[in-house]
Symmetry: D2
Subunit: 378 residues, 4 copies
């Protein structure tokens, strides 16, 4: 099953790391560390092979992929030897990248995005295309009546005023072109009733939101631990220090708010109550892609005795996100192929803020994912 992965934000750190990694995996230069679809419990013939993946994408910046890969190698995100070994592939991918289309109405922009997607599919003789949003986080979107209804949305998009944030316009265009859609960011993406309706009409699945790569991943196992031991969490506070493109963007208070909200959600879900405390995000350019998160948990044991736990997570965001992008694209393509359409809540394992009402504890999310993946084979 030849599968296209169309990256929105294709010249960014996560996208380029994913491309370098998938190319290296195809060339058998590396082990599939961090790819959960390579674990024995999830490996499945229903998933496209590494050799069947083809990459393309949109971006508003024009930095060559090879140059970005060199910068990532210099920053310690990628091994330089891989970039050297894959120079030809990383140059060739430029042919599949396009500037993000513009136009006088959002309807026109969507048409042009969809046209790029269809061209990509035809040119590469692909069975399926999955569009993955890995661009920077948008501010929280202002509600609009047209978000609730596909007919009204179609009409409104033809007007002169923007109706959808870029991530949702990308989802709209993807669905129109019969492509699946994944939002790896906290942006709105496909999470509007009108878009869910369109996905079902077109018979395409979608997944999201906000890849769970660091502090929230840890929370999704620690919060259930406190719950299973009946230890009452009194407060949970955190500070995330990160540089890089996403960090700079999150210095914008509106984008920050979106991210912070999705970071604390797991606590309420896993504990059954929301403890005191907030999770902050600060931009520190010098820290770059290696983000550091510190969390303090105060909790109460038997007879009210107060105790505490701290953790520091020092992770490379792109190196954590990129394999999940590949996993999600493989799983979503297989789901599309298996006839699934609309939201895929079974992929909650991957996200900070999953679609649907699934479990928030990592172990339960894993069980759901394993069942889902096994079901794709039949």
């Amino acid at each position: 099953m030849r599968t296209g992965i169309w990256l929105i934000g294709a010249r960014g750190s996560v996208a380029v790391t994913a491309v370098v990694g998938a190319t290296a995996l195809r060339a058998r230069l590396v082990e599939p560390n961090g790819c959960v679809t390579e674990l024995p419990q999830l490996r499945s013939p229903a998933l496209p092979a590494w050799s069947e993946l083809v990459f393309g994408g949109h971006d508003i910046v024009t930095t060559p992929v090879l140059k970005k890969a060199d910068a990532l190698a210099a920053a310690g995100v990628l091994p330089g030897r891989l970039v050297s070994a894959l120079t030809a592939d990383l140059t060739a991918i430029e042919h599949e990248l396009r500037p993000l289309p513009a136009g006088d109405t959002q309807a026109l922009v969507a048409d042009r995005i969809a046209a790029d997607l269809r061209d990509f599919r035809d040119r590469n003789a692909l069975d399926r295309v999955v569009v993955v949003n890995v661009s920077t986080t948008e501010p929280i979107v202002t509600p609009h009546p047209a978000h609730a209804d596909l007919a009204r949305l179609t009409e409104a998009l033809a007007g002169p005023d923007p109706v959808l944030p870029p991530s949702s316009l990308a989802a709209y265009a993807a669905f129109r072109a019969v492509c699946a859609f994944i939002d790896f960011t906290p942006s709105t993406g496909a999470r509007l009733p009108a878009l869910a309706e369109l996905a079902r009409v077109q018979g395409v699945p979608f997944a999201g939101n906000d890849g769970k790569t660091g502090e929230t991943l840890v929370k999704s196992v620690l919060a259930p631990m406190f719950a299973l031991r009946n230890l009452r969490v009194r407060s949970w506070s955190g500070l995330n220090l990160l540089g890089g493109g996403d960090g700079a963007n999150l210095a914008d208070p509106a984008a920050n708010a979106a991210k912070v909200a999705s970071k604390q959600r797991v606590l309420g879900d896993a504990l059954g109550y929301v403890p005191e405390g907030t999770s902050r995000i600060d931009y520190v350019a010098e820290i770059g892609d290696f983000k550091t998160a510190w969390d303090l948990v105060t909790f109460e044991g038997f007879l009210g005795t107060g105790m505490r736990m701290e953790f520091t997570w020092h992770g490379c965001d792109s190196a954590l996100a990129a394999p999940l992008v590949l996993d999600l694209a493989r799983l979503t393509a297989a789901a599309h192929s298996a006839g699934r359409s609309g939201p895929l809540p079974e992929l909650g394992f991957f996200f900070k803020d999953p679609l649907g009402d699934g479990p928030s504890a990592l172990a339960e999310q894993w069980a759901t994912l394993a069942t889902f993946t096994a079901g794709l084979e039949s």
Copy 2:
């Protein structure tokens, strides 16, 4: 179901905290924080009620329980108001405590222990008695041929030389008196083929070993997290600083070795390989019962990128252990009542080094425990 809990080490911190807590719970002075058998998923009519628990025990020291409770309150382990409110109960319990018996042969000592257990049961009109070892950790035991066979063991015990470590002699006596046995310590306890044979013959269950209260609890959720995300753990090193009786005892290298071994086991089980690193225990008197553990995990993500996580756990050992002692006693009594005999591997959730080949990931241990508990009702 009137249930006796006979504590080996009844005047120690864990035992006294358990007694104070159970008495306070019966008097409805506190919430059952830290008691997992009070979680909705585990609550069961098959378990003895708080009001049905009766405490007794052995100890080699003679500090009055009330005095120990005062010391625990001064150290911040217990609220002083509870000790004041429960003075009468904590004084009355002295009638049920006995010095640990001595004798010329281990057979004789076992007879005397068993007699104390039977007296306790008769005097209090108990349906069942569960013996719980919460005394200090023993050095690793030297193997002896009589450990493998009940007949040979019975014979050897009558001889002049000690054959069993104290924890195993307690299990032997408990089984002889038709009492269930729980080892909350890393000592040998019932983990000898001859003792398992005796437990089956007598129709009594046993559980263990080594209550999972701090660093290992955290490991049992973090190690699966790394495994489920296919992140390769390169090293996992830790330092445990603790004072109190258990800490002083662990300064003995032999006892320390027993404990350290059971602390790293979870990693091999959860990850499928043993990463580099060791988990050390150091005695620091001033830290007392509030132990501090620090762990450093280095791991490898996509394309080999190195990352790291640290955590510090600052927990009160007795406040974490005591509710689990009560949970285990309730569950084991119910299992005895339901006709179970021999090892109870389904209680792995509670232990660092569980009996049998059960899962080591906390979430799986929880699922096993929930199924087990539900099965007790029928």
Copy 3:
């Protein structure tokens, strides 16, 4: 030398801890831990003895001192046995406490404050009185032309509009009553040209601002360490989590800004440049008086190699502040007695944001303090 210590905020945590401590020291119930004037290098006959200190103060709340002391004992800030032993003294002090005066003009309020101070001095036959501001932090003050000149200030205070923030009005009243003044908070206090002028006219000294009790204390030794080793600090970020009265007040963004600014100042002074990063303060009620600060420092060594250091400080703010309040009062009283007037920059050792251009490295501040103290004897 009988010395009065008049506390603005006399019923707050810091003040009550200081009063309990000084009373306990006088009764020889405790060691003078945390009091630097009891170190051999600073001990001096020029300082008033513990037995010569008399306490009074203003507050807007009315909680009895004894009740506050009990609450501090329950929270682990004070030993309960001290409060029991000192009940009579803690009750007697109520006679020396007054509600903070009100009035139609600030001139009138200042008169009433000054009258309270004179009454206190006369009633207790005191040689000197030192006023210490330990009330909650004020928002950053709006500049006013009258702040620059004593004559204009006197005139403006008689008008209907407030000219001075409460901390500065307290300093004004203190100076009018020929009392020394110490501001232990980040509020404006005596730091206005008109007030410095008044202090000199009246022949009284003043000191401040913002007691250095936790994260900034650590910064004042670590930042010089990096500087002396020629290691370039790239970023220094921190999060302070604290509850209690001061924490609640700091949740107000304006007060927070004042505090945060004084927290980063030491870095620029010690390093000669300001690294990236900010120091945040978050209010977490449950943490109470035991504040937790986490800092991450990233730095660059030989040949540009990147490294990092983290620290967590878990300190009881009142227990750290109270002995310094006593030290400052003793030193300032002695300085007054020795004829010093105006700002005392030599006391920079105690403050986050010291008066004058003194050193910011703790060791240099110490040397300055030792010289100053030795000079008081002659």
Copy 4:
């Protein structure tokens, strides 16, 4: 002043980092980060310039310097671009390196070492040579009567049994060849009465021991902080995790003991008492040259209130040590030139376990160093 730096362990990480760095500094490719002799307060015309330094050395291994430099670059210790830029210099240095001499008696070995030193000096027309021991740590040495007296030592060295550990034999040979000697390790080095006697006879200075690069550096500012604030430290415990050559060697309990002892010494000196706790060293190969140290300090404030501080230091040992090796060589050469002989206690700033009775607080050591350096100019 042409100055030779002869490195014992010339092919190890510290030595190669020092050589790469000095070469890069001479070529003006880097800033002198981490070199304290480049701070304004210490810069002095009495010190040899970067362009006047010439490197040579002994080692028992034969890895080419260039190959080692490449390995250090791959490990992130050095920037790869420097190694590329300096390939010619790093190849040329091979001409100045020699295998560590052997012989039937230690007297003969010493003669051969001294001959190598004299050849190095003559071949390069050097004014002075400083020998620096940067080889791996030796076990604690067994005392020998000949250590106390130069005449007896000379006699004993001619015998068939080894009398001196390798580090001391190197010092002996250095002094015989009229070279200064620095021990950057915790080994014995020149710290024997017989060797001090020889240094004075030959008119050469020596310095040591054990470069202060990480945890102990932090201790040397934090311990004085607690002391200056009269806060009583109850316990100070630490764990050092490190890989690399030195780490492997320290897994040997005897070498470990030497290092651990010098790590706690600073506490007793700075505090005036030795708090509870130990500082452990564990070898974790995967951590390599980037060592991680975690320390927990528990302390007591006013009225006995317990508090705590933790820090984690994640530093690159070679990148921290190498610039200090260069600083020490420059300072010791200048001292030799200025006529100093015997121990140089004024260099305590650089060492965990300084010669003499100097201060252990970093700020005081700095003041001593600044005075010493200023005195070299005259």
